[in-house]
C-alpha cells in the first residue's frame, strides 16, 4: 500500500496523572473513513485533539504526508490540510451563513471563483436557502452542516469529526450519512462517534478504543473487531 497520509507512532498523553492515551499507533490513508469507537473515557476526543494539534502528546510522534507535525499548532496543521469539526459545532455567531463559508474558503480560493464555490458547497449541504441568515438563527442540525461546510471549503486532505451526530435527530443522521459517504471518496475522514451503527455503516476500517488504548483495528466485518466492540461495550467501561 502507498505511504499513509497520517500516522501516529506510540502516542501517549496523560492529564494530571490520568492516562488518557497510552502508546497509540494508527495509520490513515488518502481516502475512506476510519471510524473510532469506544465508550466514554476511552480517549477518543484526546486522540482527535492530538491529531488536529489542540493537544501535544507527552510521548510519541505524529506524521502527516511523511512530515513530522508533532509540534505544529492547529493553524499550521490547517495550512497543511487538516480540518476538524467539534462535538458542539463552532461557527461565527455574528456572521451570516454565507460569510462563515466565505471566511473558510477564502484562504484557498481565488476571489473570482469564491462565490461559485460557496454556492456549490451550500447546494450540496442543503444550506442554499439559508445563506443570508445569521448563524445564530440556525438550528443545531443546520449549525452542524455549516461547520462541515466550513471544514470542506478549507479544502482539507484529512477531516477529523468529533461526535458529528450529537444533537441530531434520526432523519438528520441519515442525511449526514449520505453526505459523508460521498465525501469519503475524495478525502480521508476520521469519524469519532458513540453511535456504533452510524460509524459501522460508514467506515472502511474501525479502531476500537478502551482506556486509552486501541484494542482492535480492522474492517467492520472482521470477527475479531466485532468481538472487541462487544467486549468493550459489555464491560460497561
Amino acid at each position: 500500500m502507498a505511504s499513509p497520509l497520517l500516522s501516529l507512532q506510540g502516542v501517549s498523553k496523560s492529564f494530571g496523572g490520568v492516562q488518557a492515551l497510552s502508546d497509540v499507533s494508527l495509520r490513515v490513508y488518502d481516502s475512506g473513513v476510519l471510524g473510532i469507537i469506544g465508550p466514554n473515557g476511552a480517549g477518543k476526543s484526546t486522540l482527535a485533539g492530538i491529531i488536529v494539534g489542540a493537544l501535544k502528546p507527552d510521548r510519541g510522534k505524529v506524521f502527516f504526508r511523511g512530515r513530522e507535525i508533532t509540534n505544529l499548532t492547529v493553524r499550521e496543521r490547517a495550512a497543511l490540510g487538516v480540518a476538524h469539526t467539534h462535538q458542539i459545532p463552532r461557527v461565527f455567531q455574528s456572521l451570516t451563513v454565507y460569510e462563515n463559508l466565505e471566511l473558510a474558503a477564502s484562504r484557498r480560493v481565488s476571489r473570482r471563483d469564491l462565490d461559485g464555490i460557496i454556492r456549490e458547497a451550500a447546494e450540496k449541504l442543503g444550506l442554499n436557502g439559508l445563506l443570508e441568515l445569521g448563524a445564530s438563527q440556525l438550528s443545531s442540525g443546520q449549525l452542524r452542516l455549516l461547520e462541515i461546510g466550513m471544514a470542506l471549503l478549507s479544502q482539507p486532505l484529512l477531516l477529523v469529526m468529533d461526535e458529528p451526530t450529537q444533537g441530531l435527530a434520526g432523519l438528520e443522521v441519515n442525511y449526514l450519512s449520505n453526505i459523508l459517504r460521498s465525501l469519503s471518496e475524495r478525502l480521508a475522514i476520521i469519524l469519532i462517534d458513540h453511535r456504533v451503527d452510524f460509524v459501522a455503516s460508514l467506515s472502511n476500517r474501525v479502531a476500537v478504543m478502551s482506556r486509552g488504548r486501541v484494542v482492535g483495528l480492522g474492517r467492520i466485518g472482521d470477527v475479531e473487531v466485532v468481538e472487541k466492540i462487544e467486549a468493550v461495550y459489555m464491560r460497561g467501561a
Partner: protein, 289 residues
C-alpha cells in the same frame, strides 16, 4: 558613582517599605488571587482607611482609635459593595470590572468632598529617632514595618493552615460543587471581602503618619498591589510577602540612582513584562484552544 554611604539606609528602608507594600497587597491576594474577583476598589479601601484615620485625628481622638475604626470602615464598605453589587451578578468578571471601576471613581469623589483636593497628613503618636549602623531612622515607620510583616505572616498562616483558605479556594473554583457540599459560598465570599477590606483599611491607618493622605492615593496602591500579587504568583500569600519585600528593596536601590517616580515606572514595567513573558491568563493547554 554609587552613593555607598546611603546603601545601609536604602536596604533597611527598602525592607520596611516592602513589608508595607506586601501588607497593602494582602487583601488583593485574597480577593483577586484566591477568590479570582478583580476588585478595582482595593486601592480606594486603602484610601478610606487613611481618610478615616485623618478624620479621627482631626476630631481630637487618639491615633490608636483609627487602628480599630479604619478596618471596620474599609471592611464594612467592602462587605456592602460585595453584598449590594458584586454578589448580584455572581462576581461575573466583566460586570465586576465595570462596577468596581465605577465605584473607584465614586469613592474618590466622596473622599474629595470630605477632605478637599489638598494632601493631608497625620502626626505620628510617637516617633523616636532610632540610630542604626551609620544612619538614623524613624521609629514609628520601623514599628509600622514590623506590624505589617507580623500581620502578613499571621494571615499567611491562617489562610494556608486553616479551613478558611480551602473554603475560599473551593468556593471560587466550583461554586456549584461547593454549594452541593453544603458550603454557603456567599458567606465565604463575604468573609473574604470583609477580611481583605479590614486588612487594607488597617494598612491605610497604619501608614497615614508617614504617607500623604490624598483622594487619589488609592490608584497607586491598586497598581502596586496588582504588581506585588502578580509577581508573587497569583493566589500565593507567601509569594505576595516575598514579592513585596523584594520590590521594596529593588525600588529603594533603584531610587538611589534614579528618582523614586522613575523607580516606580520601572517596577510597574517589570510586572508588565512578567505578565507577558509568563502568558498569564492564556487558557491552559495553549492559547488558541
Amino acid at each position: 558613582m554609587f552613593p555607598l554611604e546611603h546603601l545601609g539606609l536604602a536596604l533597611f528602608d527598602g525592607l520596611v517599605n516592602g513589608s508595607v507594600m506586601a501588607f497593602i497587597a494582602l487583601g488583593l491576594t485574597i480577593v483577586f488571587g484566591i477568590m479570582n474577583v478583580v476588585n478595582l476598589t482595593h486601592g480606594e479601601l486603602y484610601m478610606l482607611g487613611a481618610l478615616t484615620c485623618w478624620l479621627l485625628v482631626q476630631s481630637m481622638l487618639p491615633y490608636a482609635s483609627a487602628l480599630i475604626v479604619a478596618p471596620l470602615v474599609s471592611g464594612g464598605v467592602a462587605v456592602i459593595i460585595n453584598m449590594l453589587i458584586l454578589q448580584r451578578f455572581g462576581h461575573e468578571p466583566g460586570q465586576t470590572i465595570l462596577a468596581t471601576f465605577g465605584l473607584l471613581l465614586i469613592l474618590q469623589q466622596v473622599a474629595l468632598a470630605i477632605m478637599g483636593p489638598a494632601p493631608r497628613s497625620v502626626q505620628a503618636p510617637f516617633n523616636p529617632v532610632i540610630e542604626l549602623a551609620g544612619f538614623s531612622y524613624s521609629g514609628f515607620k520601623l514599628v509600622a514595618g514590623l506590624v505589617s510583616i507580623s500581620i502578613s505572616l499571621l494571615v499567611w498562616l491562617v489562610v494556608e493552615g486553616s479551613r478558611l483558605g480551602s473554603l475560599l479556594r473551593a468556593s471560587q473554583e466550583n461554586r456549584m460543587m461547593a454549594e452541593s457540599l453544603g458550603i454557603d459560598t456567599n458567606r465565604v465570599f463575604m468573609v473574604g471581602f470583609a477580611l481583605a477590606g479590614a486588612l487594607v483599611g488597617f494598612a491605610g491607618a497604619l501608614t497615614s503618619p508617614f504617607r500623604q493622605i490624598h483622594f487619589l492615593m488609592g490608584l497607586d496602591a491598586l497598581a502596586m498591589s496588582f504588581v506585588v500579587v502578580v509577581l508573587g504568583g497569583v493566589g500565593r500569600v507567601g509569594g505576595t510577602i516575598t514579592a513585596g519585600l523584594a520590590l521594596g528593596l529593588l525600588e529603594s536601590l533603584t531610587a538611589l540612582l534614579l528618582t523614586p517616580t522613575l523607580a516606580r515606572v520601572l517596577t510597574v514595567a517589570l510586572a508588565l513584562l512578567y505578565i507577558v513573558a509568563r502568558r498569564l491568563g492564556a487558557p491552559r493547554g495553549g492559547w488558541r484552544y
